[in-house]
Symmetry: C2
Subunit: 452 residues, 2 copies
């Protein structure tokens, strides 16, 4: 125990200055979730392995933190599986639970489990941590916060519109005015795959196209050349090559595809509603190359990018999934949802100094401590100011003034209440403005929250 202790790699301690900024973002998100009629739920950090495994692909399964069975249960370890190098069977013999990997599978589990107690269509939001056993590296954490809003049990396109409006409201309130909401539709991507004749390679196609923002069109074409023939690629590049293709033109190209037509109609409805109503402060744009990797999406997909900070990646994303709860035997529950990339939003706001200044003030007023009898006399005043909403710290100890003021300055406090011997006798206090150094005397009775 001689070394300095530390938190595990890939995890973070949040000191007050950082946490108040994170909470500022989360408060804006949460307030608007509620204004849009979403209700909050929470699920446990621990889920059964049977709930988690098989939902995120092999790579995902590997990244789930598994909890060791406790006490005597460890005795059931399957040693022969271990010796046969069958690690997953060995693991299964000593672990029944794991840590939540995202908020989507727990939502599907929650909806299936509590379907009789929920009001459908079910609009929920959830802001909780998730854990992934990724290799810790700069900007990638093993424990991080997800903020999701979803509507389950309706295929109404109004939900997509409300979610984009919700995104815009939140990003606007946080001070972002350079956001582009990119939208596309899985039905359109399917029609595209059909049009260029690569329906059998749809998943690969989507995962390659998904990288276009990171690696650029040319490298995407190189990769596509490896899995599809030259004529398909050239059909594709003619669509993607020059300026962005319009929805109108696609409507003609994909007119034979039922899901393509449906996708285009839905995108049209969204765009018309939002643009004709002049609904949003930021921009919305149809982007045929937007794919989003997750394979549970079936309809509209959406991604939030910042024009001024493309390198940071998307600040959020979401889409429609028609069949997520069927993992848990609940059919016909179309869902659509969005998610906020809290860490990236924080990073951009920090870089561009977008946080309000008042977050730097840890509290409003410091009461200088001349001894407990002085504090006793001031205590009714302190009480009433707190009741009026002033954040007040009393310096804990009776120590030299400069030490107390230095503490106050480190906390960016605006005002000090000072009652020394003279003031004590006269039932007065000095209120000192810690910013400009000015100060005035008041009788105790005169002091109220308006002076600060």
């Amino acid at each position: 125990m001689s070394k300095t202790p530390s938190n595990p790699k890939g995890t973070r301690d949040f000191l007050p200055s950082n946490l108040s900024k994170r909470n500022y973002i989360l408060d804006v998100i949460k307030k608007n979730f509620l204004l849009f009629g979403f209700l909050e739920i929470e699920t446990p950090a621990l889920e059964k392995n049977s709930t988690l495994l098989g939902k995120y692909g092999n790579e995902g399964d590997r990244l789930i933190f598994k909890i060791l069975n406790s006490g005597e249960k460890v005795k059931k370890a399957n040693i022969s599986a271990f010796q046969a190098n069958n690690l997953s069977e060995f693991t299964n013999s000593i672990s029944e639970k794991g840590l939540r990997y995202d908020l989507t599978v727990p939502l599907a589990r929650f909806v299936a489990q509590h379907q009789n107690d929920l009001i459908f269509p079910f609009k929920r939001f959830q802001i909780q941590n998730v854990w992934r056993a990724d290799r810790p590296q700069h900007g990638r954490f093993q424990e991080f916060t997800q903020c999701d809003a979803d509507i389950i049990g309706t295929n109404s396109i109004l939900q997509e519109i409300e979610l984009i409006k919700l995104y815009d409201t939140i990003f606007s309130e946080l001070g972002f005015n350079d956001i582009i909401f990119k939208i596309n539709h899985r039905g359109i991507l399917n029609a595209l795959a059909n049009y260029i004749g690569i329906v059998d390679k749809l998943t690969d196609f989507i995962s390659i196209i998904d990288k276009i923002d990171k690696i650029g069109l040319n490298k995407v074409i190189d990769e596509l050349n490896e899995i599809i023939d030259r004529s398909s690629v050239s059909k594709l590049t003619s669509l993607l090559g020059k300026e962005k293709i319009s929805i109108k033109k696609l409507k003609i190209l994909f007119k034979e595809s039922i899901e393509g037509v449906k996708g285009i109609e839905e995108i049209n409805t969204i765009m018309e509603f939002i643009c004709e109503n002049n609904c949003i402060n930021n921009e919305i744009e149809f982007d045929l190359t937007l794919a989003r990797g997750l394979n549970y999406y079936t309809g509209t997909i959406i991604e939030v990018t910042s024009k001024s900070n493309n390198a940071i990646g998307s600040l959020g994303g979401g889409g429609r999934y028609d069949d997520l709860t069927s993992f848990f035997n609940l059919k016909n529950m179309s869902g659509v949802g969005i998610s906020f990339g809290l860490d990236r939003i924080f990073l951009q706001m920090e870089e561009q100094k977008m946080f309000p200044e008042h977050l730097d003030n840890n509290f409003d007023i410091i009461v200088i401590n001349f001894g407990i009898s002085y504090i006793k006399k001031l205590y009714p005043l302190i009480d009433s100011l707190r009741k009026e909403g002033k954040k007040i710290d009393i310096y804990p100890d009776e120590v030299k003034l400069n030490k107390q003021f230095s503490y106050a300055n480190k906390h960016n406090v605006n005002y000090a209440i000072i009652m020394g011997e003279n003031e004590f006798k006269k039932n007065q206090v000095v209120i000192k403005n810690m910013i400009d150094g000015s100060q005035s005397n008041y009788s105790i009775e005169e002091v109220n929250s308006l002076l600060f």
Copy 2:
């Protein structure tokens, strides 16, 4: 996957109706933490086993959820330790991290680790979940929320006073008026043990005395008879037997004990400050039998009990600990803190119907859906009402009216905005009061938040 899925035993899903009540309690707690100058921190759910183990006694170590090392690291399993039935060595070979067991040890780790970045005295609060591999049973959970406020780095008795005032402010705001804050002091308990001649059995003595509220004085005496001699027990019963002993009388009895005298002085200072100032709405009481099991306490101890609901146990507790950070090599950091028993507070508030009624309203206004063109026309109004702070849900689908109203009633919505074909033509809406059924027509321009 044919069975209905479920969350693990001992964990909980929170549905919106419960969560909004839990959050109401947490919001009141958090607001007052901030008003009293406490700053929020967060630590990761995952801590190194080296941080966690050895801090909570053998029983505690057993109850820590351990995380299985991921990927290839499992190959380092110490099979010979397993075969020799040395389960803890086996466990250590496949686990390096565990889940946070409380917020106190992580706080000590945090303060030692970040001592150069913190402002001392350090006043922090923390509201996060903790995990314990207890046997799941009614009212005891494996995952639950702790809410702690602590001050580290001062031995000023003013902190105890502020913490009691903070407790009282929070419980009063939540509607409790039957609370007794019981206080005692470890110095006084030590003097007591000295007085009855059982200093060598102090830990056992404290853990037995601690049970007095649960099992009563007679059973406590039975248990004490097993570890100490009859004359000590009778000396003790003469102190505890009749009405509660006064601080004044103890001052005489314990005058030879330095720590007894110090303890009595501190309790006196607290009681005088609070009672002479008429500081609190609830009651405070010195209780010589209050012990609090945790062995890191060294000074004042405090417990929150409800007169009307003794069976529920304490609603919170805390105390002073002089040496917690020395686990992590940081000496001379006296700390004092309190904690809130969220689940018990919730239970009592639920039983006694103490939650404000407005928590039942999931949102303020429902917009009845007659089709997307109607919603499009209403959208600027919806937008401006949300900006004025009204929580509005638009019914997702264009379905029969009674289905939409039934949804609204299940959500306890107060008002509906209705625009049917007639209203659409006249640029009007109907606002229907969902409580009394009354309704009126307004032009769209007339509608503002004051109507609701």
